[in-house]
Amino acid sequence: MNLIVKPPETFRGDFSMRNSDSAILRLPFPFHDDTYMYAVNMEPHVRGGPTAAYDAVFDLDEHYLGDMQDRALVLAEDPARCQVLPHMMDAEWDTLELLMQSLAHDYPEHFSLTRNGEEWHWVNRPMNIDDTFVFGRAETLPYPPFEYITRQVQGDFTIQDQRDNNLFMDGGMVTSQADWSLNFDLGMAFHEWHGPVPVAHEIGVFDRALKYLLRLQYGKPVRRLNWTLTVNPRLDTSPENYPLWGPDKASVTPQNVGEKICLRVELQTLTRLPRSNAILFGIRGYLIRLEELARVGKWAKRLHRVLRDMHPDIAEYKGMIRYRQTIVDYLAPFDDGAVLNPGTAPEQSSL
């Protein structure tokens, strides 16, 4: 896969992060229709989809180095953003194997993996990493296996142990989350960590999702999309640092809304791991400013309609109460009321 990695931009402070035209067009836009409601909405995670973001098993993009730099900063400040409970060591190695194999296969110009029995040699050229280690022996790596590899892949990850007809979030690397805490949620069961989500419980979404995931098969990963809005392209919107990013929410005006408000899309993947029988949950986040997104006509119109007509409980849970109207007013001029095709593809190949 053709991957051009930019020098790192910032996702905090001066927020120098910008999306190139191709980054904009490859966004996994989350809205199929003009209204939004929770659904189980899982589909097979196969290569290929409405945009290039679906081509790789674990997608990397031009922001690779910026993302990884931000992750390293978060971890230096708060090591509790990466934790794995002791009984999950098999799942750590499963994750390392899966991510290394996927990156080496999908981006061979940037990564290589050579396996000689249990002696593995891993090269990550963009990050200047060249390590030899023994698979299965954690002391031969500079970090524990799960932390080691997730410091080199975009997106947050959790590993879920399957037992007692339930899933338990028994490990995670969570540095770019949409307002939830790994240190608080670590060890929770499926319905518990989804506790705060409104509406979905009443319509049985989580009961069905859990039943489905308990039967997730090895070799048949699935994916779904989730989304929220963020002020500034800030990756670390954690509860821990809420006092740092909270005040930004009151700073949105009609003049700056296009630049400041970002749509944050999560391409979530769920993969059954072979040795541990655990599930690896990948939360690959994409940030795009409204003014960048608005350059895609179909997306501007659809986003306008979705936000204008959203269920108030969902709008509140997504944290957009303060500036929802400002956003709707900003997008309204882009919406000529034309009937749009269902589906998320941009329907244009240049901007």
Binding site: D164, S181, G187, H191, W193, G195, Y242, P243
Partner: protein, 178 residues
Amino acid sequence: MSKSRPVYQPFRIDPAGRAHLLVTDLSHPTEVENIETWVVHVVAPGIQAQGYSPRAFRSVADLLLTLTSRLAREPVGFRLYAVGTEPFLWDVNNVARAAGLGNGEIFLTHAGSLKRRVYCSHCKTMNEDVTENIVKCRGCGANLFVRDHFSRRLAAYMGVAVDAEVPGEIPQAEVIYP
């Protein structure tokens, strides 16, 4: 209403169990039947209740430590019942899980005060005996809104700064968990 909030059942002995122990942080539990019972009750040093009358511990900490060593000796078929305040129930649960007890062997019943233990998301300090919906963190001073999101592992509710968006704008606290 968060779905992570535990739902408690009334106290009831499980007939499938072979041995039973009830532990409580109430000093005068009303559920005591023909079952071995441990209570937390300040008694004069050196005086202990015997047999099926409640065994009294000087503190919750003392009870939990003794519970750990008791569970290490028990065979499968054991049932543990805890009755009392919410933080106590989940501290017992953690001791029991570490000893190998699981679903169907531990039974928790809430009784007494609704007071909460609140985890500060910002500095990770635990705040005990919280009865209001807003508490000032004893670790970092943040004014925390007490959410309904509950962690069984931490045996605490999540607290998040109530005035993060507009610093200083703090609603009036109310006693919600007397």
